[in-house]
């Protein structure tokens, strides 16, 4: 009964498909990504099959999701936002499903790896910068020059603006990664308390472990909220960055 808490072991990568994927570097993280993509594709395929005027449950779910992201795009970016709707929706759905799948036992939360979230954030960053230069040409560089400022202050302010701009992918990726990792670590730690209590105090400890169990139940609700909220924050920040790229202010 050597009970010790290994809170970070759950994030370890193993070969996917029962070890068969080891040769090509296909891990359990990639498995979860495929699962997330499959779930969203299958849900939409089923939901859009009927195309009823009065939607059933699945169709209503699909339509709510669609309209939610569509309104987010139009409200944040403006009318041009519809051009970016497919991208924003894909990112939102992928992250949301990744967060939600990671909440289930025996599944892997791929958004708890900085490698994954930083890749997503860098993609958004490079894409929105590209949109900026595509829309405005070299005038996009004026984005780093704040308006209405005396010119002797510019050598001070331009580096600040550039650092502020470069910090976007970092804050975007760290936020998602830290929230998911922290939630899963807390779950594991409280579950470990139950083992420790039972190992140290026997039958009394087993009864006392109802406290960490209750905390874990409450945490499950919180994690559900965080999973949705972080996907939403990632998507709306993507919209904000695209808005800056399109409108330059």
């Amino acid at each position: 009964m050597a009970a010790s808490i290994d809170a970070l072991g759950q994030f370890g990568l193993t070969g996917g498909f029962g070890g068969a994927g080891t040769a090509v570097g296909f891990t359990n993280s990639n498995e979860a990504m495929l699962a997330a993509a499959a779930v969203i594709t299958v849900t939409f395929a089923i939901g859009l099959k009927a195309r009823a005027l009065v939607p059933g449950r699945t169709q209503a779910l699909v339509e709510i999701l669609y309209e939610f992201v569509r309104n987010m795009c139009v409200d944040t970016i403006g009318e041009e936002g519809l051009k970016f709707f497919p991208l924003v929706f894909t990112i939102f759905a992928f992250i949301l499903l990744g967060n939600l799948i990671g909440l289930f036992p025996y599944f892997f939360a791929f958004t708890s790896h900085i490698a994954v979230t930083l890749t997503l954030a860098l993609f958004v960053f490079v894409f929105s910068t590209g949109v900026g230069f595509y829309t405005h040409g070299l005038k996009f560089l004026k984005f780093f020059v704040p308006e209405g400022v005396p010119s002797w202050l510019l050598p001070l302010l331009v580096p600040i603006e550039i650092v502020s701009y470069l910090s976007r992918p970092v804050s975007l990726s760290v936020r998602l990664f830290a929230n998911m990792t922290a939630g899963h670590v807390m779950w594991e730690v409280f579950a470990g308390f139950m083992l420790l209590l039972t190992a140290s105090f026997g039958i009394f400890g087993a009864f006392a472990s109802i406290v960490p169990l209750g905390l874990n139940v409450a945490l499950a609700a919180l994690e559900l909220l965080v999973a949705g909220l972080q996907a939403y924050v990632f998507a709306i920040l993507t919209c904000l960055y695209l808005h800056d790229a399109v409108h330059m202010h």
Binding site: I160, E161, V163, S164, L166, S171, R175, L229, Y232
Partner: protein, 115 residues
């Protein structure tokens, strides 16, 4: 929510005019009904929805602000450290970049809070 009610009211208008021909009672009744509806629904529902909206915005903001500050600092110090390696001037450029990172972090905060 507000727009929904507005459209439903607009849709109701021709119906109301039609009924006014029926008698004086209807007019008074419609007025009282409208007043009662507004008293019962209007302010309460708007307050609730705006409360929920502001709470969601507050949570969203709280999730963002902490990281924004740290991220700017990390980027600034990393740039300074990299330039130091390049020009063999350690640790001066890194030290110079610390206030820049701080200012950029505050800039991020202001930008996030103003939107």
């Amino acid at each position: 929510m507000g727009s929904n009610r507005a459209t439903s009211r607009r849709l109701n208008r021709p119906l109301k005019k039609g009924r006014m021909n029926g008698g004086k009672d209807h007019k008074a009744f419609e007025q009282r009904l409208k007043a009662a509806e507004q008293a019962a629904q209007g302010p309460k529902r708007e307050a609730a929805s705006s409360n929920a909206g502001s709470a969601r915005q507050a949570v969203e903001l709280a999730m963002r602000l902490g990281v924004e500050m740290v991220a700017a600092m990390v980027i600034a110090v990393t740039i300074g450290w990299g330039l130091d390696k390049l020009f063999h001037t350690a640790p001066w450029l890194m030290i110079v970049m610390v206030p820049v990172g701080l200012a950029a972090g505050l800039r991020n905060l202001l930008r996030a809070a103003s939107k």
